[in-house]
């Protein structure tokens, strides 16, 4: 896979892009497709709802890539990635409200709801988009760091990590459902009217957001590909397959996992940041454990351990969902569960198996699935 890539870590990242993409034609063509879609949106000016849908799909694809990075390449299945997505989304929503308040002078519903005369201290500076961006990504990284450090340091692995991360997002959801958090409680935040001074919902803004999401997706894909094709990427795979062994070779797997975990959280936050202005609302339901599991489902359906698989899975499932949950909402949960079971039982590498685009995915060889985590724990007493 990366045999042609220079193994030395001294090569600048930019010069690794070519070889990295060259080694993964599927991903390269996806990147081209994404860029073409962005260009198409600008030139062809399709109907706004279509543009908006493409933009949302791109945000979901970014989210899926962020999860694939830790799951497919590092073996850490997070069932709490919705948390980081929500952090990006909430900070973005706060920025949009603060910004709209500053520009239009109309107090947002949230202020009336909370009975505020002015925005409280922790909203300070959120009128500035760069600050909001730094805050969103920094907050996601910080939360990921604290949680990751606590888990990885004590070697909480495998399904243990999965269910603790699920508890984390569940608790966060309960927290955000409270009305006294000052973030809209049950209703969340909505009514965004202005983006960078432009009226929200105007065709230009809709297209701009979708194009931004597509470009970010392309950037994230290329960056992630360079990462996984680098020596660090090899360490990730080694860590996924046998973490204890990698440690006995002198590598601090805690640091490796923590770094990638935080990076993944930042990418997920970026996805949330791009998603919220496109749907125009954020509420605690993005923190429901089910949504976080769904992210894993997209990746599994597309094919984990392949960045392209994550994108395909996210787009395929969500496009189907857009269509079916409107056409026959009752049937959608059954279709989704059937899809999951079919993929899990029949297509261990997801839809990529169907496409027969098998370029020896690095993942899911039977040997790599040896449940090393099963070793921990005692017998039944």
């Amino acid at each position: 896979m990366s045999g042609a890539v220079d193994l030395s870590p001294r090569v600048p990242a930019v010069r690794r892009i070519g070889p990295a993409l060259g080694s993964d034609p599927l991903l390269a063509s996806l990147v081209v497709l994404v860029l073409a879609a962005a260009l198409g949106l600008v030139l062809l000016q399709p109907a706004p709802y279509l543009v908006n849908m493409v933009g949302q799909l791109a945000a979901f694809a970014i989210l899926a890539v962020s999860l694939d990075l830790v799951w497919g390449y590092l073996g850490i299945l997070s069932l709490g990635h919705g948390l980081f997505f929500a952090i990006g989304g909430y900070v973005c929503a706060m920025h949009l409200l603060a910004h709209a308040y500053a520009v239009t002078g109309t107090a947002p519903d949230l202020m009336q709801f909370m009975g505020w005369k002015s925005l409280p201290a922790y909203w300070t500076g959120l009128t500035s988009a760069p600050y909001a961006l730094v805050l969103a990504l920094g907050l996601a990284a910080a939360v990921a760091f604290v949680f990751g450090l606590a888990s990885f340091r004590s070697r909480v692995n495998g399904v243990y990590f999965s269910i603790i991360s699920q508890a984390l997002v569940y608790v966060a959801m309960l927290l955000m459902f409270r009305n006294d958090t000052g973030l809209g409680g049950n209703n969340g935040m909505t009514g965004f009217s202005v983006l960078f001074g432009w009226p929200m919902g105007s065709p230009g803004v809709v297209t701009g957001l979708a194009v931004a999401a597509l470009l970010t997706l392309a950037g994230v894909l290329v960056g992630a590909k360079v990462l996984v094709a680098s020596p660090i990427g090899r360490r990730m795979l080694a860590c996924r397959d046998d973490e204890a062994r990698l440690r006995t070779l002198g590598y601090s797997t805690t640091r490796l996992k923590l770094g990638i975990w935080c990076l993944s959280a930042v990418i997920a936050a970026l996805a949330g940041l791009l998603y919220v202005p496109q749907v125009g609302i954020i509420n605690p339901r993005v923190l429901s454990p089910d949504l976080s599991i769904e992210i894993a489902v997209w990746v599994a359906i597309g094919g984990m351990g392949r960045l392209g698989g994550a994108v395909i899975g996210a787009v395929a499932v969500n496009a189907l969902k857009f269509w079916l949950s409107a056409a026959m909402p009752e049937a959608w949960p059954f279709i989704l569960s059937g899809l999951v079971l079919a993929v899990v039982l029949g297509l261990p590498n997801g839809l990529l198996d169907l496409a027969a685009l098998r370029l020896r995915p690095a993942s899911l060889k039977p040997t790599s699935l040896k449940p090393t985590w099963l070793r921990r724990g005692g017998g039944l007493r």
Binding site: S8, R10, D242, A244, S368
Partner: protein, 236 residues
């Protein structure tokens, strides 16, 4: 000069004392074999040295005075202690070359890495398989690749856990040669093995473990003659 000193080491699992005040000193340049019946504590000793198992009491000190019991697995490996596991432990999803590059360790100077990989490939005779996935190698090749990964890091202390288990006679002989080439004046090698002929071929001295303690220490010939050793182990 001792390269590795194990000083009254005890490891306890529940009520079971796997190692019971074990002491052992391996000199630089020496190949030491540790033998003993099943359950004598051989693999536990390696686990304690590599930091996988925390001892209840005692110390494990490297030649330069570093107490390994105070460090984690990664730090111990970076200090120059490397282990070949009993089960071949290579990364199946990576190529032979990539496995070796991981074997060099994180402290490997970037300029030296290519040379070390080449050297390890040559010594293990895996040049032709450099681009193959480790998962696709034969059992013997995996064992050698693992030894190559140990080699690539240029360790001070090498721990080999049953390096010839499950190998054919020809492969065993080839492994014995490989171990002979590992020997260096500034390096201590500790081998755990059941194959007595192999031990006799590679080891300078043997330590016989029994129930977590040293039963005998000396040459292989003397070990074969020792009445207690015969009783617990050889004379079965």
């Amino acid at each position: 000069m001792s390269a590795l000193v194990v000083d009254s080491l005890s490891v306890v699992f529940g009520a079971f004392r796997a190692l019971d005040g074990l002491s052992l000193a391996v000199d630089a340049g020496e190949v030491r074999a540790v033998i003993g019946p099943n359950g004598a504590g051989k693999t536990t000793l390696l686990d304690a040295i590599t930091g996988i198992t925390r001892p209840r009491s005692g110390r494990i000190v490297l030649g330069d005075g570093l107490d390994l019991t105070q460090h984690g697995e990664a730090a111990i490996a970076r200090a120059g202690v490397r282990r070949k596991f009993q089960k071949p432990s290579v990364f199946p999803a990576l190529t032979v070359r990539e496995n070796l590059s991981l074997g060099c360790g994180p402290g490997c100077p970037p300029g030296a890495q290519a040379d070390r990989i080449a050297a390890a490939l040559a010594e293990t005779g895996l040049e032709a398989r450099a681009g193959a996935l480790a998962g696709a190698l034969a059992h013997g090749e995996k064992q050698w690749l693992e030894i190559g990964m140990v080699l690539a890091s240029e360790p001070r202390v090498i721990l080999l856990d049953e390096p010839v288990a499950g190998l054919s006679d020809a492969e065993t002989a080839r492994t014995a040669e490989l171990i002979a080439t590992l020997r260096r004046p500034d390096r201590a090698i500790l081998v755990i093995e059941h194959d007595m002929a192999f031990v006799e071929a590679v080891a300078d001295r043997v330590t016989v473990l029994h129930e977590g303690r040293t039963l005998f220490e000396g040459g292989m010939a003397a070990a074969r003659a020792d009445a207690r050793v015969i009783e617990v182990f050889l004379g079965r």
